[in-house]
């Protein structure tokens, strides 16, 4: 008969406690040692912090090389794409000398058809003519290759002298209206220039 004073839970605990009082075996020490050694051997490495990971990545040579390569390429691209420094228009004489100095080696170095003129030189050519005195022989020699190089550039405007020659030609063929329009256009481009005097000088040459 089941004693009503003893609940099933109490019976359960009493029986369990009775068995627990009697040790029924332990894992052998060798088994303990084997399992603990395996746990130490195969323990996952602690995850490094974000700062440690970044520092570790920076210490790797391939990162240094990659960073140096990217920096070098960026520097080269920056130098190649750098726009030319605007010229100082307040000193026309300096511009003339600078322009002439830059044109001479360019002309001497390569034949004009094979080497198109660099854009900055083409743009500076009219400024050189602005300050020039009526044509001298050596400057005329310099102007010829420069003119050829200017023609080679698709977007280059005719020089002042070319414009004046064109006006003279138009007047000679009797197209005075077109000649006047050309003169007006030249005047807009070269407002400080005494165009009639230059025309007269050219006509008399």
């Amino acid at each position: 008969m089941i004693d009503r004073k003893h609940t099933p839970d109490a019976d359960d605990e009493m029986l369990l406690e009775h068995f627990r009082q009697h040790p029924s075996g332990e894992p052998p020490p060798s088994l303990d040692a084997f399992i603990l050694a395996a746990a130490r051997r195969e323990a996952p490495t602690p995850a490094p912090s974000l700062w440690q990971r970044w520092l570790h990545a920076c210490q790797r040579p391939r990162w240094q090389m990659a960073f140096a390569t990217v920096a070098g390429v960026a520097l080269m691209i920056g130098l190649v794409l750098r726009s030319p420094v605007p010229e100082d228009h307040s000193s026309p004489l300096a511009s003339v000398e600078f322009s002439a100095n830059r044109q001479e080696p360019a002309v001497a170095a390569a034949p004009p058809p094979a080497m198109p003129a660099p854009a900055p030189i083409v743009r500076m050519a009219p400024q050189g003519e602005l300050a020039r005195a009526p044509a001298s022989a050596d400057q005329a020699l310099l102007e010829k290759p420069a003119a050829k190089m200017s023609k080679a550039a698709p977007a280059a405007l005719p020089t002042l002298e070319q414009g004046l020659m064109e006006i003279l030609r138009l007047r000679e063929v009797g197209d005075s209206k077109a000649a006047d329009e050309k003169l007006l256009a030249l005047h807009k481009r070269f407002p400080k220039e005494d165009l009639p005097a230059r025309l007269e000088a050219l006509r008399q040459r």
Partner: protein, 190 residues
């Protein structure tokens, strides 16, 4: 045994071990080595087989990156791994799995004449008799009793681990206790 209130839980220790804290595993191992080993020895009734399964269980836990899923506690998870390993061993070696027997507890119930207080206090303390009494239990009753004894698992946890309905687990435990009382007390004078 449950961990003390001020000590980290099994689950916290396992998580710390997964993050590289080797000492956490040693604490976990110290907590559960004895209960798991005794459970396996009593369930398989073979010390060598119990040691093999015990080692496999801990090594699989060491090499696994998983954690107990859902509401399962570490203890339930550990005993479930061990139980599955033992069943796999029986299956692999062609041993009939006694835990999968359909067992009608009612047919094995005998009148419990040994549950009086006097008889309960005079249960046999002979280790050999305790072991023999355990081995005399039907396998599924023995499994439930051993999970309760060595795993310190609650009945719902045992039900989840064994995949048996909770009422079935309750009845298995009740019948196991009745039989153990009878076997351990029958030769003691009342």
């Amino acid at each position: 045994m449950p961990a003390a209130l001020d000590s980290p839980s099994d689950e916290a220790l396992l998580a710390r071990n997964r993050n590289g804290d080797g000492a956490s595993f040693e604490v976990l191992y110290a907590r559960h080595r004895q209960g798991l080993y005794r459970f396996l020895v009593s369930l398989s009734n073979k010390a060598e087989l119990a040691e093999e399964i015990f080692q496999d269980t801990w090594l699989s836990l060491i090499r696994s990156a998983t954690q107990p899923q859902g509401r399962a506690s570490f203890r339930t998870w550990l005993f479930q791994i061990a139980r599955n390993r033992l069943i796999d061993h029986w299956r692999k070696h062609g041993v009939h799995n006694p835990l999968h027997d359909s067992y009608d507890e009612q047919l094995h119930v005998q009148p419990d004449d040994a549950s009086s207080p006097e008889q309960q206090l005079s249960l046999s303390r002979d280790q050999a008799r305790l072991d023999a009494a355990l081995q005399a239990l039907p396998e599924d009753q023995r499994e439930v009793f051993l999970l309760r004894l060595h795993g310190d698992l609650e009945l719902p946890q045992i039900a989840a681990l064994t995949g048996a309905p909770l009422e079935t687990v309750k009845s298995r435990l009740r019948y196991a206790q009745q039989k153990l009382h009878r076997l351990l007390a029958e030769e003691v004078p009342a």
